[in-house]
């Protein structure tokens, strides 16, 4: 390790940004080393980002977005690893909690400018930490002892790893997007549509007072097709089809995308004409991508380590280690090291988390038994170390978050058989039909104690599968709702058709990219509620491209 660090330090010396960050960090720590309330930890995170988006509507180009920025995030901790300024102050306002000081850094290697921006932000962050440390100490004296007495910051090995900088590769996609957007606009019921390609090239830097010095790249491309329609009952329907990849070469080819555009346009028209769903409780199948989001919302957020610590948190799984949660053939891991799953790029891949800890696999459920939590550097009772899941967007304090959450089964059931099981289950429960949730737009969950500890998986559309053999019926306007322990206990079987949902997850540490992977799941009993709907009438006049010419 020492040899590795020495070898790398030569390469790091050639990066003026890292040099400037290190110089200001050293100067600050030296100045505070004899101060009683000086920081015991100081970290500089820099996100160097180029964001490009090209798009097209109705065959015409949208304005190009092309932004380059370098943003600084300063993290200072005052106190000790056992108890420090980041500790929860009970009863304190949620607002501002976990926020870091930031700034815009020069795009070049101007050391004077970089250090001056860093200096001003460091001063503010340390002052914030000092002020908060005083409040933490008072809180500890005034209020009752906390249930979880674990430390505030784990001790981890510093890492030195300067990887190659990422470069953005742009392809001539505008013409393809124009063609796709024309196809999307072909039906009169589609009031708005877009084809777009977004690309981000990130270089993540981290320099800390513990000796960590990192530079690691990330590239991300998303091609997305969007349609919007409005049903006669006022429901606004937004349908998407997208894929995320790490290299432009892995984007789908034009014929594939054209087929997607045609399918989406046709399907938008079908969904807008479909009847609205009704409240339902009974058996259903979540197809792969929807099942992934179900796992993310029901289990994933509740096994984020820091949630086992807060007195306001529901702590659903805190004391469930060793308990059977799911059928014995099912396991769930979260592994940021995975780059792909069955040919699909995974959005949650990274080499190091935002606290500089190498990515590791976290086993959450093994053979149906709950095994452990996702961990950042905030220890909890029974878990004193990070497993590389400390994540945050810029200017936020990292907390444990999901990356690539993967549900797998040792007894995959062919999909046709799973569907037959659904009909049988519906019949056994005396239902007219079972439901298949095919596509979802996302979801959310509440994990605290003040509100119902519940989840909502937002279905785009669903199918009624009748037990008497009638053809399946498309419905819209339903969401999947429930509570975690009951929902997990109702999982009956998993299919042989793993699907990948790539997206971005929002929580207290901001928006972070992640993936959810799962085969279809048959669930014995779950509830579906009506989705909220708008009240605007569809446009009064036909759109100009469909007979509107004067």
């Amino acid at each position: 390790m020492l040899v590795f660090a020495l070898l790398c330090s030569a390469a790091l010396a050639e990066d003026p940004l890292l040099d400037a960050l290190q110089a200001e960090l050293d100067r600050t720590m030296r100045a505070y080393e004899r101060e009683e309330d000086g920081p015991y930890y100081l970290g500089y995170r820099v996100l160097e980002n180029r964001h490009v988006r090209i798009g097209s509507r109705y065959g015409q180009p949208e304005p190009l977005i092309d932004r380059t920025s370098r943003t600084l995030d300063v993290s200072a901790r005052v106190g000790t690893r056992e108890r420090d300024s980041t500790h929860e102050v009970r009863g304190e306002s949620f607002f501002g909690l976990g926020m870091h000081t930031g700034g815009s850094l020069p795009l070049d290697g101007n050391a004077a400018a970089i250090q001056t921006v860093v200096w001003a932000a460091t001063n503010k962050e340390i002052r914030d930490a000092q002020e908060r440390w005083a409040r933490v100490q008072t809180d500890q004296q005034v209020r009752v002892e906390e249930e979880d007495q674990s430390a505030d910051f784990s001790d981890e090995e510093p890492v030195v790893d300067p990887q190659d900088l990422a470069m953005l590769e742009l392809e001539a996609w505008q013409e393809t997007l124009a063609s796709l957007s024309t196809r999307l606009d072909k039906h009169s019921g589609i009031v708005w549509s877009r084809a777009s390609l977004t690309a981000d090239t990130d270089n993540h830097y981290l320099v800390t007072s513990e000796g960590t010095s990192l530079r690691h790249p990330r590239t991300w491309y998303r091609i997305a097709l969007t349609t919007q329609a409005r049903a006669e009952d006022g429901t606004a329907l937004n349908l998407y089809r997208w894929t995320d990849v790490r290299e432009a070469e892995r984007l789908p080819d034009r014929p594939t995308l054209e087929a997607w555009a045609d399918e989406l346009a046709d399907f938008t028209t079908a969904v807008v004409e479909a009847p609205a769903g009704e409240p339902y409780a009974g058996p259903l199948i979540l197809r792969g991508r929807a099942a992934g989001v179900f796992v993310h919302e029901v289990l994933g957020h509740r096994v984020e380590g820091h949630r086992q610590k807060g007195d306001d948190e529901g702590q659903t799984f805190k004391d469930k280690i060793g308990e059977q949660l799911l059928p014995p053939e099912i396991s769930i891991i979260d592994d940021p090291r995975l780059e792909t799953w069955e040919g699909f790029d995974l959005n949650g891949h990274y080499a190091y988390d935002q606290e500089g800890v190498p990515a590791q696999a976290a086993v959450l459920v093994e053979r149906g038994v709950f095994k452990g939590f996702l961990m950042s550097r905030e220890p909890i009772e029974g878990a004193s170390k990070s497993n590389g899941h400390g994540r945050a967007q810029r200017w936020r304090q990292p907390v444990a978050r999901m990356a690539n959450t993967v549900l797998s089964t040792t007894k995959p059931v062919p999909y046709d058989k799973l569907r037959a099981q659904l009909k049988a289950e519906a019949k056994a429960q005396g239902r007219e039909y079972g439901l298949i949730i095919d596509e979802i737009a996302g979801g959310f969950t509440l994990t605290g104690r003040m509100m119902p500890n519940a989840f909502n998986v937002r279905a785009t559309y669903a199918w009624r599968v009748f037990v008497d053999g009638r053809p399946d019926q498309l419905i819209r306007g339903v969401d999947l709702v429930g509570t975690p322990l009951v929902a997990l206990s109702q999982v009956v079987a998993a299919g042989d058709d793993p699907g990948v949902f790539n997206g971005f997850c929002g929580a207290e540490s901001g928006s972070v990219p992640n993936s959810a992977v799962s085969p279809s799941l048959l669930i014995r009993h779950l509830e579906v509620q009506k989705k909220e709907k708008g009240s605007s009438r569809p446009p009064l006049l036909p759109k100009p491209s469909v007979g509107g010419d004067t």
Partner: protein, 563 residues
Amino acid sequence: MIALLALGVAQADPLVDALADELERSMGELELGESGAPYFVGYDLMDITYTDMDAVLGSVVQRSLVPKRKLGVSVRVGSALLDSANFQMTWRAQDGHRSRNTVLGDDGLSLRHTAWFETDAAYKDAIENLSRRVAARARSATGGEEAPCFGPGPVQTSTSEAVSPVPFGDLEPIAVPLSAVFLDYPEIEWSRVYTGAENGRRILVDSLGTRVIKPEVEVNVKVVARVRALDGSHATDQVSWSVSDLKTLPPLEEMVAETTRMAERLKAWKMSEIADEDYVGPVIFEGEAAVELTRKVIVPALVGTPPPEKPPSGSRTFLLPGNNNGTTMRVKRRLMPAGFHVRDDPGADPTLPSSFRFDDEGEAAKKLDLVVDGVIRTHYTSRTPSKEVTVSNGHGRGNPGKLKRGAPSITTVEVDRGLSSKKLHRLAIAQAAAYELDHYLVVRRLEDSAAAGASRLLIQVGGEKAGPLAQPIVAVKVFADGHEEAFRGYGFVGVDNRSLRDLVAGGSRSTTRTVRYAGSGTTGSTPVTLTAPDLLFSEMELTAGGDGGEKPPALPSPLASMQ
């Protein structure tokens, strides 16, 4: 004949044609139940390329070049006497003005698609808003405003070429050296140079027959810096240049020199004594402080577009914040003492970005004598007029998709007998005697409160709203023998348009600045050029004391050890 020719040229543009076609369809076919068809539909297409580049301490920190096409839609239902516009909006209810970014290219059908979608939504909004207004007036004891709702002038047609965008390469040689000035000033805690250009064209098409294509040109350079004194007080200062063409910026050496003067000024502010007692007595606003006073106090009193009509008190309607009441004064009221005049001439200097032939509603811009001998004679008026000026005088300004409000273009405050600096000094000393003072106060610069917020949005596009005067950055006590003592920490108390009656005299020297003006804050900001003489007030009240901010950084700036 000329108008017809211009109309023909304008209609040759595929985008104008597309908007006109969709407008005709909307006016002819849009009708929902008994609510009636719109009586006015207007399209405002801003077709502009935004080029931005910011620099800090000799390095670029941000750059973007964004071609943008934004379509604003205005739909009015009802009649010119009672319509849907300018009634207070709520979180859910809009007033018939909408906007949306639209696609590039010359394909008219695509533009029509956006126009169709937004017109439909704006029409439905307008119907709801008129209904709310009618219901509110029925509840009101007075029955609402007597002013007409819509007052267009003669229909205009005109065309002009778009202006080409400014490339990054032209901004960097300005932004970088100006920002590098602060490398020599470790006392300055924060600095940033904002450069930006907005070049293109604006297309105005409406159901009255307006067909105007006008150029959009603006180049802004703004240097902002902040310093903190030992007692925690801080001051933010700025210098800025706003021109219509990069070539008309001053030579770089001159800009660097002015930036250096600002840095020195902030350094001096940090070291100056803090005022320890409140002040009541004569005050002279000199140079840029007089321009700032004009922007904050004089101009808002002359805006004719009334603030949005509100439901009567007692209504449970939850209103949107930001629509303030404004401070417009009625025509024939005295604003200033006799001998003072305020004029506006949009065509006074066509090279300025504040100059225009047609306003943002396509009305012909008119020269205005706003204040004559201290008395208000007219207002800056848009098509949403005041009770007394019922027809637009071509001063409607604002962003696409917003109700256009009356605003200045090139406004000059004049005084009949401007005094020399010496005479102004003698008069101020004489005025001070009445307050048993051996000195008077001169304010030379005010803090730019938008810049103090240090937000790019506020600094670059937010402009300055009407409101209280910011703290003076340069305030000196001037004694009878002419010597000066600089102080910091003063703040104005209760300066508004009533304070203008305490004007005693104006100087023979005038200062001109092109700045941004945001009016009531609901329409976006626009460039305006203001000229004002030094202004002596017989009495003004200022409180003393710092702002109680955070103490200076614990460590010296890294620049201190790099020099």
